[in-house]
């Protein structure tokens, strides 16, 4: 049976490779700058991590990425199991010494790579904010002062400390997740269920 898997290029790739090997799927990284590789019955795709759910929604059998990306992109895919790596959190962050609760942020400018998650978070609290969508180095926006606060991923907290920022509220916990295409779940039912069972045993 042929299986295609979209893997996250970037910081999750190493852990993803080790983890898949633990569940019996040996990953071959592509040669040079190619974005596709094959080994045994598996074809591996290496898109940008933000695009993994798009590939899975549109026909790639499986994918692995962070749960933050699934929540942000809202693609129509199954997310049957959390994986035991890529653990971090998404938090609301302000410049050090300007601590304020989210409920007091009416009218604030919030910079983030995650406009959907940020909007949902403040909407649930009934607070109107202006969201500035950035593509990276979000800490800079708070430091320069173009935003009053930022929403971003926090792992060790070192980046925050280095930029004189502090967390005021954890929005969600994040981990790597397995994604399954809706049709693959039907057509490769036993394979997918066995894989999920194996993953749950390892967890």
């Amino acid at each position: 049976m042929k299986i295609s898997i979209a893997l996250p290029s970037g910081r999750l790739l190493k852990d993803t490779k080790y983890f898949l090997e633990d569940v019996g799927i040996k990953v071959k990284e592509p040669d040079s700058r190619e974005l596709i590789s094959s080994l045994n019955d598996y074809t591996f795709y290496f898109p940008r991590v933000f695009d993994v759910p798009v590939y899975v929604e549109n026909g790639v059998d499986l994918g692995i990425c962070g749960s933050d990306i699934v929540l942000e992109r809202k693609n129509d895919v199954y997310v049957p199991v959390d994986l035991p790596f890529g653990k971090c959190r998404m938090s609301l962050i302000v410049p050090k010494g300007k601590r304020i609760s989210p409920e007091e942020m009416e009218g604030f400018k919030i910079a983030t790579k995650y406009p959907e998650i940020t909007q949902d978070f403040f909407l649930k609290k009934g607070i109107k904010v202006k969201i500035l969508k950035l593509n990276g180095a979000v800490e800079l926006a708070a430091k320069v002062g173009i935003a009053d606060a930022i929403v971003d991923i926090v792992d060790t907290g070192n980046t925050l400390r280095a930029n004189d920022l502090e967390e005021v509220h954890k929005i969600i916990d994040i981990s790597a997740v397995l994604l399954v295409n809706r049709i693959t779940q039907k057509t490769k039912f036993d394979f997918v269920n066995d894989l999920i069972t194996n993953i749950r045993k390892i967890k």
Binding site: V79, P80, R182, I183, Q185, F189
Partner: protein, 261 residues
């Protein structure tokens, strides 16, 4: 390169004409739903807009519009070809067909038989139809009423881990686990067994786990898919209009067009 709108339309037109002929031969007539409907939270999909006084939806889902119209008296067999928008203005063309004021199980059987005939006429044979029961899920949801939204979320992403984290009886969790993982030809749900037996086609399966939770469906739901395409060809199910039994299915014409390519 600019999209060739004429070639695209010609392909779509050929597909729709073939399907239209079969539907008319089977006693269905074409319904022309309006492009704009007064906003209601019962209407699904569509692009919400306002003229300054009222809210409206542009191109909403047709089945939810039919239910909202609440006009059915006599038996009607209808079909429609319609563009459906979502809130991001992404559009899909659908061909749907519905039996309004039909009979329990006979309506479902006719809809599935017609689905098979329509695809056969388009020379698509490598497809499957999965049937499931919303009623079975609703029963479980009632047992875990406090966590209804959490269970629905878990069903939608098919994540049993989310269920395990809830403070509900282990017995209910086990029941949900069984529903998640049931796929076969014979279940303990009589209506689904009867349906499979009467249609007798090896491409139909009972798959209780792979459903999308739509709140207007009452019991039996279907999904049509092909192994060589990552999207559903169509989906549908049984619902009620004006307390009359109804059942229908909508094909995603973009996916069918891809398969024909």
């Amino acid at each position: 390169m600019k999209k060739d709108i004429f070639a695209e339309s010609k392909t779509l037109s050929n597909i729709v004409n073939k399907m239209r002929n079969i539907l008319i031969q089977n006693g269905y007539y074409e319904l022309f739903p309006p492009s704009v409907a007064q906003y209601s939270e019962n209407l699904k999909k569509g692009m919400k807009f306002s003229d300054g006084k009222n809210f409206y939806l542009l191109k909403p889902d047709v089945t939810s519009w039919l239910i909202e119209m609440d006009k059915v008296e006599e038996k009607q067999k209808i079909f429609y070809v319609s563009e459906v928008l979502n809130e991001n203005l992404n559009s899909t063309w659908q061909l749907g067909f519905e039996i309004l004021n039909g009979e329990h199980l006979k309506a479902e059987e006719e809809i599935i038989r017609l689905t098979i005939e329509l695809l056969k006429n388009l020379e698509i044979s490598n497809f499957f139809v999965d049937v499931s029961s919303i009623k079975v899920w609703k029963n479980v949801l009632n047992k875990a009423a406090t966590y209804k939204q959490d269970v629905i979320k878990a069903i939608e992403v098919r994540n049993f881990g989310l269920i395990e984290g809830l403070e509900i009886d282990q017995e209910i969790k086990n029941e949900i686990g069984e529903l998640f993982n049931f796929r076969g030809k014979q279940s303990n749900i009589n209506s689904l067994n009867t349906l499979l037996k009467s249609i007798n086609d090896e491409r139909i399966f009972i798959d209780l786990g792979t459903i999308k939770y739509m709140d207007y469906y009452e019991d039996i739901v279907f999904e049509v898919y092909a192994p060589d395409n990552g999207h559903l060809l169509g989906n549908g199910g049984q619902y009620k209009i004006n307390d009359k039994y109804a059942c229908g299915l909508a094909f995603n014409l973009e996916v069918i067009k891809e398969m024909k390519r």
